[in-house]
């Protein structure tokens, strides 16, 4: 049968471009058609499900965002940059970025250019299902017959472009295969262990493009071809003679595509299709409300299981704890394994590095918090005392604080009196008028409760603190603890009051000339606290100040790649030994350039790093304090 078909092909030489088959159909397209139909239906149902699980409020938000030109433009830009070009990966690991963009963008262009080609040369095959528009552009080179004599320049350009794109994709695939063998070469220390569906999809993906090359190479003498396919055709002819039996390669190509699409929903490759949705959701300002449904579902399927979070996760200080990384967390979520997801959700330090480095931007800390919320939000508490205290405290502060700075040290800073003392010295030296909000006692900011998933309880502490701060009449709320800062910025509504971290504040004092500091020659390194850096995006202000007081060295991982000190309040179940290991790895990163001192700007980090570092560890305010030039001298 196959032989007969190929024989007939050679008997007639067409005039111009004609269909080799009157119906433009061959059985080999079936696997592809089944696959693409399956995935389209699956996607449709999935989309409906996710939208259904969104809250009404969120659905309206989403709808509005789609018609808002600003967000619409951002959506397009993000989808283009994140889903196709993978600029985020490019920035950190160029080779890995090239690999991803080659496969994604290359494939995308192959589809787009392929369709344009069909639209230009055989437009009727795009007009309706009857003419095979579902599969025709994919297998165009099989169904078309072009007499080389009638080849136009326009046609040749497409031949070239298509072959070039195929080569582009193949280069990506080549790298991907190499990565499987030697991941470190592409800058990854840890890679994920693929599941069965992952493997099927992966091998299909690997095979699709080489098979396409083979198939198009076989038919290049009939359909025409570019710099890749045509020489390949000559080679085949040289080896196999004129009687080319090319149908099996087209079958294989179609089967791989079909299998890939069928395996897709069960594999990591679902991210290709989900990521755009996630981008829309994110740009619409939606938040994770349920740990598995709605937005979370979009996040879960958007995870590409690339494993970049394995290298990012501070848990990788011990191999046994790698299992708590986001990629596995998401995998267990996908499988509805409640026991495992709960365990991982509670273990996580919530340092946010996986989120910061995730090429897709899966906010797994938010999902972890949502899981904790289901566990812990219903715990009863008795916070009636907060109101009583807030009332009293507000009364005490209200007169004397009007128009001044209100300094809130927070719970933890009371275990590091150095920070408080240094802050007061700085405030006094720079002539600032301030009141101390929690000198003797105070209410927790609510961040620890929030991190533990006790949202309702956190709201109560937020309410009480808000009353004190608002009633005080202060204009600036000065914080020395980044844990507090994060929640004050995110969850408090303090209109008219500037919430500022002491790193920012001191930077401003120096810039405004209110605080004079001298520079010493000692080499220091700065540890970015998670809540301050990744949490609030404050990286430069502390560095500005530190450069003014000492020689600032670099850590091997810093800014948004900074390694958590291990003692984060984010974790609920990580034990002391594991915390200590993480602290060690954090310190070893800080010691990359042999600094003489380590500086940080968080009471938790301060205590954690101090317990492991062999060089002196100082708080940010403390080191500034040491370098204050006495104003009286001038």
């Amino acid at each position: 049968m196959i032989h007969l078909l190929s024989a007939t092909v050679h008997q007639i030489t067409p005039e111009g471009i004609i269909d080799r088959y009157p119906n433009s159909y061959n059985h080999f397209v079936l696997p592809f058609v089944i696959g693409i139909t399956f995935i389209l239906i699956y996607l449709f149902i999935g989309l409906i499900r996710i939208l259904y699980h969104l809250s009404g409020e969120d659905r309206i938000k989403l709808l509005k965002s789609l018609f808002n030109p600003k967000t619409a433009w951002k959506n397009i830009k993000d989808i283009f940059c994140d889903c196709l070009l993978h600029t985020k990966i490019w920035k950190r690991k160029p080779l890995l970025g090239y690999m991803h963009s080659a496969i994604a963008f290359g494939w995308f262009l192959l589809i787009v250019v392929g369709h344009i080609e069909v639209w230009l040369f055989a437009p009727r095959h795009l007009s309706g299902l009857t003419e095979g528009s579902l599969y025709y552009p994919i297998f165009y080179r099989f169904f078309i017959w072009i007499n080389p004599a009638h080849e136009t320049l326009r046609g040749s350009v497409f031949f070239f472009i298509m072959d070039f794109l195929l080569l582009y994709v193949l280069s990506g695939i080549g790298l991907a295969m190499f990565k499987r063998v030697r991941s470190i070469a592409l800058g990854m220390r840890h890679t994920t262990k693929p599941s069965l569906a992952d493997r099927i999809a992966l091998y299909c993906l690997w095979l699709i493009f080489p098979l396409r090359l083979l198939a198009e190479g076989f038919t290049a003498d009939l359909s025409g071809g570019g710099f890749l396919t045509r020489p390949l055709n000559w080679v085949f002819r040289a080896f196999f003679g004129n009687e080319l039996n090319f149908l099996p390669t087209w079958w294989a190509y179609s089967i791989c595509l079909g299998l890939f699409f069928i395996a897709m929903p069960f594999s990591r490759y679902m991210h290709i299709l989900t990521e755009p949705l996630l981008i829309l959701f994110r740009n619409a300002g939606l938040k994770v409300r349920h740990p598995r449904k709605g937005f979370a579902e979009a996040e879960i399927y958007a995870c590409s299981s690339c494993g970049l979070c394995l290298d990012a996760c501070p848990m990788n200080a011990q191999k046994k704890n790698l299992k708590y990384s986001s990629v596995y967390f998401i995998r267990f979520l996908r499988r509805h394994n409640k026991k495992k997801t709960k365990e991982i959700a509670e273990k996580c330090l919530m340092c946010g590095k996986c989120y910061a480095l995730c090429p897709v931007g899966v906010n797994s800390p938010a999902i972890r918090r949502a899981i904790r919320e289901t566990q812990n939000n219903s715990i009863n508490c008795n916070y009636s005392y907060l109101d009583t205290y807030a009332g009293k405290a507000a009364e005490v502060l209200s007169d004397k604080t009007r128009g001044k700075i209100l300094y809130f040290a927070g719970c933890m800073s009371h275990l590091t009196p150095k920070i408080i003392k240094s802050m007061e010295t700085i405030l006094q030296a720079s002539g600032q008028e301030y009141e101390f909000m929690d000198r003797n006692e105070g209410i927790c900011c609510g961040r620890p409760l929030m991190l533990a998933g006790r949202t309702d309880a956190a709201r109560k502490t937020i309410e009480a603190n808000t009353k004190i701060i608002k009633d005080s009449g202060c204009t600036i709320l000065l914080l020395s603890c980044p844990i507090c800062l994060k929640i004050f910025k995110e969850e408090y509504s303090l209109k008219g009051i500037e919430v500022i971290h002491y790193t920012q504040f001191i930077d401003r004092l120096i810039k405004e000339g209110k605080l004079k500091v001298s520079k010493s020659s000692s080499a220091i390194v700065y540890h970015d606290p998670c809540e301050l850096g990744r949490g609030c995006g404050i990286y430069e202000e502390p560095r500005n100040v530190l450069r003014a007081v000492a020689e600032l060295k670099k850590a091997s991982k810093e800014k948004d790649e900074s390694i958590c000190c291990g003692y984060s309040l984010g974790t609920l179940t990580l034990d002391e030994k594991d915390k200590a290991k993480i602290a060690e790895s954090s310190v070893s990163s800080l010691m990359a350039e042999d600094p003489e001192e380590i500086v940080t700007a968080c009471p938790m980090c301060y205590r954690a790093i101090r317990s492991k570092a062999e060089v002196p560890v100082k708080d940010f305010a403390e080191i500034v304090c040491e370098r204050i030039e006495n104003n009286d001298k001038n």
């Binding site: 009863n380 009371h414 309880a457 003692y567 179940t573």
Partner: protein, 108 residues
């Protein structure tokens, strides 16, 4: 019944035979650190909520061991989970998870 103007007063004695050991065992599985407390009192001394209300993890643990779970719940009901006790505990007890675990297991 005659009202004599006085009656048998309840005993303040702890009866360990009546302590719910099964529940405590569940707690020890959820957070084994509960067994490590050496009653130094650092947690109580540093407690943020303790400035306002009677709050003590040490005594809560003790109350649970003594089968007085209501007392324990009361002693933790004001906790804001701030984590100071985790920082100061010399035995490295994961106090926040312990508190959450107590609150969950003994609220049933």
């Amino acid at each position: 019944m005659i009202d004599f103007g006085f009656s048998v007063s309840p005993s303040s004695r702890i009866n360990l035979d009546n302590a719910d050991k099964e529940k405590f065992a569940r707690l020890a599985i959820a957070e084994p650190d509960v067994l490590k407390c050496m009653a130094c009192g650092s947690c109580t001394a540093s407690c943020t909520a303790g400035a306002f209300e009677d709050t003590s993890l040490r005594r809560a643990i003790l109350s649970l061991q003594n089968g007085l779970s209501d007392d324990a719940s009361k002693l933790l009901s004001h906790c804001m989970l701030c984590g100071k006790c985790t920082m100061v505990c010399p035995r490295g007890i994961n106090t926040r998870h312990l508190i959450l675990s107590i609150q969950k297991i003994y609220s049933l």
